[in-house]
Amino acid sequence: MFRNVKELVELANTEKKPISEIMIEAEMNFSERSREAILEEMYRNLDVMEKAVQRGLTEDIRSHSGLTGGDAKKLQTYMKEKPFLSGNTLLNAVSMSVAVNEVNAAMGTIVATPTAGACGIVPGTLFAVSEKLNPTREQMVNYLFTAGAIGYCIANNAFISGAAGGCQAEVGSATAMAAAAIVEMAGGTPEESSQAVAIALKNMLGLVCDPVAGLVEVPCVKRNAMGAAIATVAADMAMAGITSVIPTDEVILAMYRIGCSMPNTLKETALGGLAATDTGKQIEAKIFGVRVKGV
């Protein structure tokens, strides 16, 4: 079994297996379930993700509060009608990531990856990159195991929830997970996956969790958008041979330490950051009425 990203990469190199395979074997070992049962459960997750992407891109999604919905479609329309600047894969990843997070905000069905607040990034990048690479269904499921392996390392050495470590722990973890999985699907090495994790997570360090009115909507949906963009670019950078000066596990440890020293007002309490802006407080007052202080 591996305890951190270094051990994961070493295991993959020694056994000459991709990260996804190391994760599947670790899961078989831990759960005492068959490979078939484990794959079947992950195929179910993949199906739910695909439906969420499709719903977000085609249906008129609107959350109960009315704060979010419809942006994934806006981006798709823009891509059809205008000569957009970022690449096709990148904007697709952003749009699909937004799609899933909008479905989540509207109480649709999603897969927590690693949480519901960050549920757009892994499936969004998966289906966007798949349009470019045309993987088999099995390779798509392997993407989820690779993402899961990185999430497992982060969760056990730091944290994955906004309440515990800020948005860097939630959207940051999802971004790092996606970056590693993109590399493997694109034919990169386990070491390049690890470098992509470091590059992606470094650009999420310090990000606070400051949801307006405490809802998983503002700024969560747009942070899922940019998480997908960072993951895709980090994967390309790692496959270009760019490496992180600070080793991956030390970046994860830095994320942990930053999260520990972050004040509680910036950890999913809706008391600081964007939640405490004039507009943020007005929105909160409008949705919840009397219980808002200081407005």
């Binding site: 899961e27 949480t115 519901a116 999430g151 309490t269």
Partner: protein, 221 residues
């Protein structure tokens, strides 16, 4: 290692918007329902902390009621749970409290009917994971991540030995165990996490022990 499975990271499949405020809340409700063992006539729900402040936006109320209806975190009926509860005749009473609790996401649920009642306190700890911290006034920690045996018994010497002897005889390994009592010499509750499930006859053997009351097996949830 806090997280053991890849499905702790990629999963659960759930109705949004929050793994802690929706899926976790639903799981607390469902464990309460499973411990109660049947559909209640009345459910009293009290939210504390962040649950109390943000339950409307996160649907923590409908999620909790969905759990009480025995729905999974991914069940699409979750959204309509308040109406469904009304239709099947469960009287729901929801309130919030300003009382400071140790954990920000805490709920207290009391389920009852003419035959009896059950009270639990649960906390939602992130990513859809939850812990039950109190059952009928007994302080304990129940994660429902393994088959869990609950044995109500009189608080007297030798009870732990007698129960564990039966488990040993049937070659069932204990992963975690604790005993909680409200006062010395009165009633106590034994919580035993098992590596595998046990059958009806093993449970019956325990129920036939002197000074043992109710015996319940909660499956992995």
């Amino acid at each position: 290692m806090k997280f053991k499975s890849v499905f702790d990271i990629i999963g659960p499949i759930m109705v949004g918007p929050s793994s802690s405020h929706t899926a976790g809340a639903a799981r607390i409700g469902r464990v309460a329902r499973t411990l109660f063992g049947r559909q209640p006539e009345r459910a009293e729900i009290m939210f504390y902390g962040s649950f109390a402040k943000t339950y409307q936006g996160h649907g923590s109320d409908v999620a909790t009621v969905a759990g009480i209806l025995d729905f999974d975190t991914s069940d699409l009926r979750l959204k309509d749970s308040l109406q469904i509860a009304k239709d099947v005749g469960i009287d729901i009473n929801l309130s919030t409290s300003d009382e400071q609790r140790e954990h920000p996401n805490t709920s207290r649920i009391k389920l009852s009917d003419q035959k009896g009642s059950l009270g639990v306190v649960g906390i939602s700890i992130g990513g859809g994971k939850m812990l039950i911290t109190e059952i009928n006034g007994y302080q304990l920690t129940l994660s429902a991540s393994a088959p869990t045996l609950l044995v109500y018994h009189e608080d007297r010497f030798g009870m732990i030995a007698k129960v564990s002897e039966i488990l040993a005889k049937h070659r069932v390994n204990i992963g975690y165990m604790e005993v909680s009592r409200q006062e010395k010499g009165a009633l106590a509750l034994m919580l035993i996490e098992l590596d595998t499930g046990i059958d009806e006859s093993t449970m019956k053997e325990m129920m036939e022990l002197d000074y043992v009351g109710q015996v319940l097996l909660l499956p992995t949830m």
